[in-house]
């Protein structure tokens, strides 16, 4: 069995062939017959055995017939049982089929569910990724926001610092301006004092004689006369003109004196008799007291009916109340509430309430002690030039640049009547039973208080800037733009008018006021 280790390929061929042929031969001759022959021999043995038994039993047939019968019987029974078993086998096979179908469906459903779970799981993964993405973006946004917040805070601190600095600068400016203003004031004072001194000197030199008093009460004649004649009248009037302009008034027409500081309030000489008997007349030449009253110009000055209170109102939007005691004024109260300058101030008959007309198209009513206005009467569409208490109780009349005159009821704080007028009303007075208004169209109109109809109108010399009625309600003084003061007798309504003119009296502005005293 030793073979040389070399194996040429050609050798393999024949060996392989031999192996293959042997296998084939065995398959054909051996394998196909083994089982057959085995079973045949077994069968043969069995049959021979059976034959042996039979041959033996054939010799004793009688004794075994019964056994044969039992055997046959048993054979039948066995056949029956085999039949039943076959039937059961069929049934069980059916059941198996059913179960198999059931199992198959379950299996299908399971795979379906698995597939769906897989899909859901994928979706969940996707969503998680999205969540992470969004969170990342949120983080980035938050960082940006924080950065911006920091910047904002820095900007805020800077702003605060700047504001502080600005405040300081403003204070410095104001301080300097105050200083400049005081300097200006003192300069102006000096100038005015000098002027007054000059004036006094001149007057003193001119006026030597005193005039004796007449007891005539009514004005007798009116005529234009030079200034000196004024003093020789039976009625002396002390003219007190506190004219001030506010820079807000109709600028084209006037010399605006911007920010004329303070004003001299002339001293007063009282009438001794209210009936019009004048003791003496003197042109006020000397101011009793000079007060810095308002920060800006003063538009209106009014004594209360008891003459112990002075109300001044001006461009600075407040009304200041001054107590008058022995020729000196002390500040008592400030009434504010108007949003624009005050044009006209009036005390009511009791002296407890103050009415003011204002540029803010409203009229305001204060109680004496209350700095906050009790009532605000709005309704005019332009500045209110005059507001007066009417002779009716709880009624107020206002005249305005919007060419209306309104009647107000104080208890209801509402406008009762609106009357259209042809021209803007510059001033109003309310003597008993009527309302007299002066207008820019050079007309003075008289209105009936009940019907508020124009009863009469008569012309004035020019644009009426102010009206005033005498205490006895008999005479009306109108001041016009053409430098004329007109006195009208109210009872006669005639053309008995006295015009006063004087050199050097120029009605400088539309709001120049003249008062009868």
């Amino acid at each position: 069995m030793q073979q040389p280790g070399l194996r040429a390929p050609s050798r393999e061929g024949w060996k392989r062939d031999i192996v293959r042929q042997l296998k084939h031969r065995d398959q054909n001759q051996h394998a196909m017959f083994t089982d057959l022959i085995r079973f045949y021999t077994q069968l043969l043995d069995k049959t021979s055995l059976a034959k042996g038994i039979l041959s033996r039993s054939a010799r004793r047939p009688s004794a075994d017939s019964s056994s044969i019968m039992t055997l046959l019987h048993r054979n039948n029974q066995l056949k029956k049982t085999t039949g039943e078993l076959a039937y059961q086998v069929v049934e069980l096979q059916q059941k198996i089929k059913i179960k198999e179908r059931f199992w198959r469906s379950k299996h299908a459903r399971l795979s379906e569910d698995e597939r769906r779970a897989g899909a859901v799981f994928d979706a969940r993964q996707e969503l998680q990724q999205r969540v992470e993405q969004v969170q990342g973006e949120n983080g980035a946004l938050k960082m940006e926001y924080d950065a911006l917040l920091e910047r904002q805070r820095g900007a805020e601190t800077r702003l605060r610092e700047e504001n502080l600095r600005g405040g300081h600068l403003l204070e410095d400016i104001m301080h300097m301006k105050k200083q400049a203003a005081t300097r200006m004031n003192s300069r102006n004072e000096r100038k005015s004092r000098a002027r007054e001194a000059n004036l006094q000197r001149e007057l003193q030199s001119a006026a030597k004689s005193k005039v004796t008093v007449d007891s005539s009460s009514a004005p007798t004649s009116r005529s234009t006369s030079p200034k000196n004649q004024n003093q020789e009248r039976g009625h002396t009037r002390l003219f007190r003109s506190a004219s001030a302009t506010s820079p807000r008034i109709l600028s084209p027409s006037k010399n605006c004196l911007n920010k004329r500081r303070g004003h001299s309030v002339c001293s007063l000489e009282e009438d001794l008799s209210p009936v019009g008997i004048c003791l003496y007349a003197r042109v006020p030449v000397r101011a009793r007291q000079v007060l810095e009253a308002h920060e800006q110009g003063i538009n209106a000055v009014r004594f209360s009916s008891s003459s112990d209170l002075l109300a001044t109102g001006g461009t600075d939007r407040v009304i200041k109340l001054w107590e008058v005691r022995s020729g000196s004024l002390t500040h008592r109260a400030t009434l504010d509430g108007s949003t624009e300058g005050i044009t006209c101030v009036e005390f009511d008959a009791t002296g407890r309430r103050i009415l003011a007309a204002s540029y803010d198209k409203s009229a305001l009513l204060w109680r004496l002690d209350d700095p906050v206005p009790k009532l605000t009467l709005t309704g005019h569409s332009r500045k209110v030039m005059a507001a007066r208490f009417s002779s009716f109780p709880h009624q107020v009349v206002t005249g305005s640049a919007d060419r209306t005159i309104r009647l107000w009821d104080l208890q209801r704080a509402a406008c009762v009547q609106v009357t259209e007028v042809a021209s803007s009303c510059s001033d109003l007075v309310c003597p008993e039973n009527c309302i007299i208004s002066g207008h820019f169209d050079s007309k003075i109109r008289v209105w009936d208080t009940r019907t508020v109809n124009c009863v009469q109108q008569f012309p004035a010399q020019g644009k009426v800037t102010s009206l005033d009625v005498s205490a006895d309600h008999r005479q009306l003084l109108s001041c016009c733009r053409d430098d004329c003061l007109q006195l009208v007798d109210l009872r006669r309504w005639s053309n008995n008018r006295v015009c006063f003119r004087a050199d050097g009296f120029k009605c400088g502005s539309d709001s120049t006021k003249a008062v009868i005293r």
């Binding site: 073979q3 024949w14 392989r16 062939d17 042929q21 001759q29 051996h30 021999t41 043969l44 021979s48």
Partner: protein, 275 residues
């Protein structure tokens, strides 16, 4: 090498399905059923047919039984040939199973040897082995073996024990490498066409020039008519153990692996079946 082992095993365990039918002339008590048996190719008829005898004796009266002998289609089968050789020679291309007719009477003395017991078969078997070894190793190997070894060889064959047999037989298949093979190849060529029982001559496995002799060389030398002429279809089949090895198969290898247990290479030349 694994292939060689497989070849040895396949050769040893080769079987032929046989149907033994009792001769009709035999006097039987009953109808004798045929007996089927798988006969080992490498064994001998009388060694393996005890069951057949028993089977058929069941239906026969004891006084009618003489020595059992077998015949196939009129030809008495020589028991001292290996069964495989008999089959390949007589019924190689016939329908299986091989139908053998069993006789109990009229033993043909001219044709067959008597086989009274298994010791006869053993004597024959051992003489074949010795003869083969004489050709292969100048009887050195077989003479070196002890009696028990010879017994082992016989027992292996009788009891169909492959490993037991080949444990001893491999010694008989060894050769020195410088020789390149056995001294002479033990072979026998059987054929049905002539009266000569078989051809057995001296034949070296390796040529003097050193070429390895093949089956073709052997046939060319011993039985050239078996070889096909160029261009002609094959007229004869060269059958060993039921297969037709290629003619270029080395003879040495054939002798080592395709020999029968008696160490002879039995070659059958049969005419190619024309169908």
């Amino acid at each position: 090498m694994a292939d060689d082992k497989d070849v040895l095993r396949d050769v040893w365990f080769g079987r032929i399905p046989t149907c033994f039918t009792l001769n009709q002339d035999e006097v039987t008590e009953r109808e004798a059923e045929p007996y089927y048996l798988l006969l080992p190719r490498v064994s001998y008829l009388t060694l393996v047919t005890d069951k057949v005898k028993k089977h058929f004796l069941k239906v026969m009266k004891a006084e009618d039984v003489e020595e059992m002998w077998f015949e196939y289609e009129g030809t008495p089968l020589k028991w001292h040939y290996p069964i495989g050789v008999l089959f390949d020679l007589h019924a190689s291309n016939t329908v299986l199973p091989w139908s053998i007719t069993v006789h109990f009477k009229n033993f043909p003395d001219r044709d067959l040897l008597h086989c009274p017991s298994s010791s006869v078969i053993e004597a024959h078997f051992m003489s074949s082995i010795k003869e083969a070894d004489a050709l292969k190793h100048k009887s050195q190997v077989v003479n070196d073996m002890q009696k028990k070894d010879h017994k082992q060889l016989w027992m292996g064959l009788q009891n169909d024990k492959f490993d037991q047999f080949w444990a001893m037989n491999r010694k008989l298949m060894e050769y020195s490498t410088e020789d390149g093979g056995f001294r002479y190849i033990p072979f026998r060529i059987y054929q049905t066409m002539s009266d000569r029982p078989f051809i057995q001559k001296l034949f070296r496995p390796v040529s003097p020039e050193g070429n390895v002799h093949t089956l073709g060389d052997l046939l060319k030398e011993m039985y050239p008519t078996a070889l096909p002429n160029d261009g002609e279809p094959k007229r004869y089949q060269v059958v060993i153990h039921g297969i037709e090895p290629l003619l270029e198969t080395p003879l040495q290898w054939l002798s080592e692996h395709l020999s029968h247990p008696d160490n002879f290479l039995h070659i059958c030349i049969i005419p190619t079946p024309t169908d």
